[in-house]
Amino acid sequence: MFRQLLRRILAAFIVMFLVSLATFAALEVVPGNAAIVSLGTEGNVEQLAALEAQLGLDRPLGERLFDYYSGLIRFDWGTSSYYGQPVWTLISQRLAVTFPLALASVLLALLIAITLGTVAAVRKGGVVDIISRSLVQLASAMPSFWLSLLLLVLFSSVLRLVPMGGYVSPAEDFGAYLNSIVLPLSVLVVGETGPLLRLVRSSMLEAIGEDWYTAAQVKGLRKGRVIVSYALRSALTAPLTSAGTQLAKLLGGTAIVESVFALPGMGRLFLTAVEMRDLQLVQGIVIFVSFFVVLMNLVTDIVLRLVNPALEPDGGGL
């Protein structure tokens, strides 16, 4: 167990190293360099040279790579050229908006997926199965921005239940906060539930086909307990792992929803960074999100192993 844990952590570090290296390389091959890109067409030669010196672009590659990594470790992720603030400060501010939203949407999606997926698997071909599968099909084809617009028209413009957008911090006014995130949350839940529901259903069906499922029923255990403490126990491993990854992915994946509902979160930050060609910020967010993905994978893995010590070791994954 301990050795295995060590191996997972080592693998996680290798992936983080590769991701950061890839990010560094990707921005290295940007046509022109970061300074030219940031200045756009308005800069002159002096400005360019100054910015290059400021960003350290005039120094040799090896030195820059070393600086890059020593900065990463010290949480000194450079300064955003557009906002003029440290990248790490910007990220931590925006995280306060996005993280609760992402967490709530994944938890809600998980709850819906487990309930509907279990019923759909136990009563395969039944009403719940057919309806939930059709809804999943519809939800996975639904563009999140269009759904956002439709919800805005209905709840904001016609029913006037919630504001058109904008964000109120929960410390300021909790009721207004809830009002401002209920629509974005719904859009995210619609997007997250589909894949999780499919996963719960298919792994539940697999569990139901196992010999121990029948054996547990025949030995006289109540059906409800066979489903909950036997089937779900093994069927939930995959969906929970996936939910962990989904959560981490959402930290950067909410760009569209945040942009439609005017929420000042990570996704909008990234969008602005892309639009403004603020490469330092782009790099920072990419690295943050990918580190978080790796970390979440590690955490879900460890938690699942603590809950189910007999889980078979597997070599794959992150």
């Binding site: 290798i14 992936v15 590769l18 991701v19 890839a22 990707a26 921005l27 091959v29 940007v30 046509p31 099909q137 519809l138 996975s140 084809a141 639904m142 563009p143 999140s144 921005f145 269009w146 617009l149 439709l150 805005l152 028209v153 413009s157 058109m164 990854t245 981490a248 992915k249 959402l250 950067g252 994946g253 760009a255 569209i256 942009s259 439609v260 990234f270 969008l271 960074a273 892309v274 639009e275 060609r277 490469l279 782009v282 967010i285 990419v286 999100v289 990918s290 993905v293 790796v294 994978n297 994954g317 992150l318």
Partner: protein, 273 residues
């Protein structure tokens, strides 16, 4: 073997063809010039002249939807094809390369898979800039990881098969074995993956153009039309309907087509055909 219908395939085909024919008709004979403005005819509701109404510049929405559908489908096809080819090449390389290299490649692919697709596409947009070509490239890059992982897994699996061991024993070169012995049996899985990827590609491309990073005005794309309609959400909410419904129908059709094709092909190969 009982014959069972394949409603996914049927419905998916109909929906996809519906939108595809819209796009094709648009290329052959568009009712109006999709870029021609008429400021006297702004925000006209659906009528016989303009079945989908007109937009904020008085442009005919049907013509714009037609143009946008064509762009959406063709750019998705191009980006998935390129992405699939790159992914297949990378996956094959990873499977046949020495251990350390293949581990490195697959770890990188894992990391890319774990990365939000929209973020990957946005990052590509940050590098390549705005416009149709950059967004095709962005979508293409985000297709690479899944194809390379699938290919790598299939080649590794195939290596253990007897016929391939035999071909190796006869000294056939690696590329010959890959092309003539490994690909034919795994083609069905690649085709399935390809079809289901197209729906995702359409969605991704429209997201990029919704965010203003894809097709640039005055050309039309489904995502951009929605982003334009958003400005008039309070006054003319119906403006989000023509392009939105078209997009939903197209993606739904492509997804169903992918599912249907998948179950058709797996059933076929299970029958040994």
């Amino acid at each position: 073997m009982r014959r069972r219908g394949n409603p996914s395939l049927f419905i998916g085909l109909i929906l996809t063809l519906l939108v595809a024919s819209l796009g094709i008709i648009g290329v052959l004979h568009s009712p109006y010039d999709p870029e021609a403005m008429n400021l006297m005819q702004r925000f006209n509701g659906p009528s016989l002249e303009h079945p989908f109404g007109t937009d904020h510049f008085g442009r005919d929405m049907l013509s714009r939807v037609m143009m946008a559908s064509g762009t959406a489908l063709s750019s998705a096809l191009v980006s998935v094809t390129l992405g699939a080819l790159a992914g297949i090449a990378l996956g094959t390389l990873a499977a046949l390369a020495p251990r350390w290299l293949s581990t490195l490649v697959m770890r990188l692919v894992d990391a890319l898979m774990a990365f939000p697709t929209i973020l990957l596409a946005l990052m590509a947009a940050a590098i390549f800039g705005r416009g149709l070509l950059p967004s095709v490239l962005a979508v293409c890059i985000s297709m690479v990881p899944s194809f390379s992982r699938l290919t790598q897994a299939m080649v590794m699996e195939g290596r253990e098969r007897l016929s391939i061991k035999a071909a190796r024993a006869y000294g056939a070169p690696a590329w010959r074995i890959v092309i003539f012995h490994m690909f034919p049996p795994v083609l069905t899985r690649l085709v399935t993956q390809f079809t289901s990827a197209i729906g995702g590609a359409v969605l991704l491309e429209s997201s990029l153009s919704f965010l203003g990073l894809g097709v640039q005005p005055p050309s039309a794309s489904l995502g951009m039309m929605l982003s334009e309609a958003r400005a008039y959400l309070l006054t003319y909410p119906w403006q989000v309907l023509p392009s939105g419904i078209t997009l939903l129908v197209l993606v739904l059709g492509l997804n169903l087509l992918g599912d249907g094709l998948g179950s058709l092909l797996t059933r076929r190969s299970a029958d040994g055909l």
